[in-house]
């Protein structure tokens, strides 16, 4: 068993895990709406740019992206603080995945619902915001929650840019206490609890969106 003192240090570090993940996933979601509408755009150049973005950020490991942001940008004169690099890396990465998830959702929005909005005089933007987006989000909610969980776990990678989050704290404590088994078990437990809370939030959200079949 580990002491309360050690455990409270893990919980303290877990705050950063939650904070960085929450901020990145939220920024990523807003970005994904834009990227998704770009990939679905009738404008060829915009659609290509969207697809290129998705290919890059899904194709390159998050770890490499983080290192690129943290070490490459200062090389061209852009000084990137650790927390900015961490959030930027995660947001860019998850936005690509979320955009692809949403794209599937948009494709499943029945054409007739859009036609009804067109006949009611909605602008393209209004159709996107008021009709297609809410329905796409509802249809893809389980996949979006799943992506959030993946992202929360991937947040362990941001330690490479100097952010001390749950995993890095566990490594530090394991090294100084020589109790890796206990420390990592405790860290795993904390991740599990956070993700269970996330799943519960997801179910709550799905319940709130339970306005029936589409």
């Amino acid at each position: 068993m580990i002491s309360w003192k050690l455990f409270s240090l893990l919980v303290y570090a877990a705050q950063w895990t939650v904070l960085y993940s929450a901020i990145s996933i939220s920024i990523g979601f807003v970005m994904s709406a834009g990227i998704c509408s770009a990939t679905l755009s009738r404008n060829r150049a915009l659609a290509f740019a969207g697809k290129l973005y998705v290919s890059f950020f899904r194709g390159v490991p998050l770890l490499v992206q983080l290192l690129l942001i943290y070490y490459l940008l200062p090389g061209v004169g852009l000084d990137v603080p650790s927390h900015v690099a961490a959030i930027a890396g995660m947001a860019l990465c998850t936005s690509a995945y979320q955009a692809e998830i949403l794209r599937g959702g948009f494709a499943s929005v029945p054409r007739g619902l859009v036609e009804a909005a067109e006949m009611s005089g909605f602008s393209r933007l209004a159709i996107f915001r008021r009709i297609r987006m809410p329905i796409a989000v509802k249809l893809t909610m389980p996949a979006l929650i799943s992506e959030a969980i993946m992202m929360l776990k991937s947040s362990s990678l941001i330690s490479v840019v100097g952010v001390v989050e749950l995993t890095r704290m566990a490594q530090n404590l394991a090294a100084s206490t020589y109790k890796p088994m206990e420390i990592y078990t405790a860290a795993g437990f904390v991740y599990l609890v956070i993700n269970l809370v996330l799943v519960a939030l997801g179910y709550g959200l799905e319940k709130k969106l339970r306005w029936g079949r589409i």
Partner: protein, 264 residues
């Protein structure tokens, strides 16, 4: 009554690839009248309606709504010129549409479905829009279902909400695309009653329907399409009265079994 018809279609052609769905349609729909489009499945009547709603772009020909060209106008020497996108919306805003599949937005209540465009498109305050929407729901007998989501309503109720949604925007013309085809006979009746009441108010209506009884009793004009061509048009008496066009005779025979033709 002005001489300009509410809807004027000239030489309308619609092709999907190699298939010609509409083959040179000329049609006038009178103001304040109910015009019913009938014909066998695949005759092109729904496509014609969708072209008039500009949900489909016709391959050739012209459509005028209240004398205003929709989508395309004739140039100086009669050539077909595409009008800018901005010219389409004002013309289209005179037209309301009711779909076979209702197409209510599932994430909004009945009240939300009816009031949304008033807020988003007309810029009304939410509260005013909802009061207006409530009045429209009242007219179709559904003010008691205002807070229900579409999934909580029967098909007939959904279609009545869809009619209220279109009427809230005060269209001059209402298009109905097989409004009762996905309803059972009992629910069909309640939707047809709402449409009858609407016809009595003098609304210009263009109705694609398989309800021959409704067409004969409410329609001022019956238009029979077959294989993308306008085969016969006239008053119900002219189209259904004897002697009938042999193709209409054959078409009506299929309704005899269902007892619909006895309504004529």
């Amino acid at each position: 009554m002005s001489l300009t018809p509410a809807i004027r279609v000239r030489g309308l052609v619609k092709r999907f690839g190699q298939t010609t769905v509409l083959d040179g349609i000329d049609l006038d729909a009178g103001r304040g009248e109910v015009t019913c489009l009938i014909g066998p499945s695949g005759s092109g009547k729904s496509t014609l309606l969708r072209c008039i709603a500009f949900l489909e772009e016709a391959t050739d020909g012209f459509i005028e709504i209240d004398g205003e060209p929709l989508g395309f106008a004739a140039g100086p020497s009669g050539e077909r010129m595409r009008l800018p996108q901005s010219a389409i919306r004002p013309v289209r805003s005179r037209v309301g549409m009711v779909f076979q599949q209702f197409n209510l937005w599932p994430h909004m209540t009945a009240l939300g479905n009816v009031s949304e465009a008033l807020v988003i498109v007309r810029g009304m305050k939410r509260r005013d829009a909802e009061a207006r929407a409530m009045a429209e729901l009242e007219k179709v007998g559904l003010s008691g279902r205002a807070s229900h989501y579409p999934s909580e309503l029967s098909g007939g109720q959904q279609q009545r909400v869809a009619i209220a949604r279109a009427l809230a925007l005060e269209p001059r013309i209402m298009l109905f695309d097989e409004p009762t085809s996905s309803l059972d006979p009992e629910l069909t009746g309640e939707v047809l009653n709402v449409m009858r009441d609407l016809a009595k108010t003098g609304m210009t209506m263009l109705v694609v329907t398989h309800e021959i009884g409704f067409a004969a009793s409410v329609g001022a004009k019956i238009v029979f399409l077959d294989h993308g061509k306008l085969l016969v048009q006239g008053t119900p008496g002219e189209v259904f009265g004897k002697p009938r066009h042999p193709r209409i005779e054959q078409f009506l025979d299929t309704y005899l079994d269902r007892g619909a033709a006895t309504l004529l």
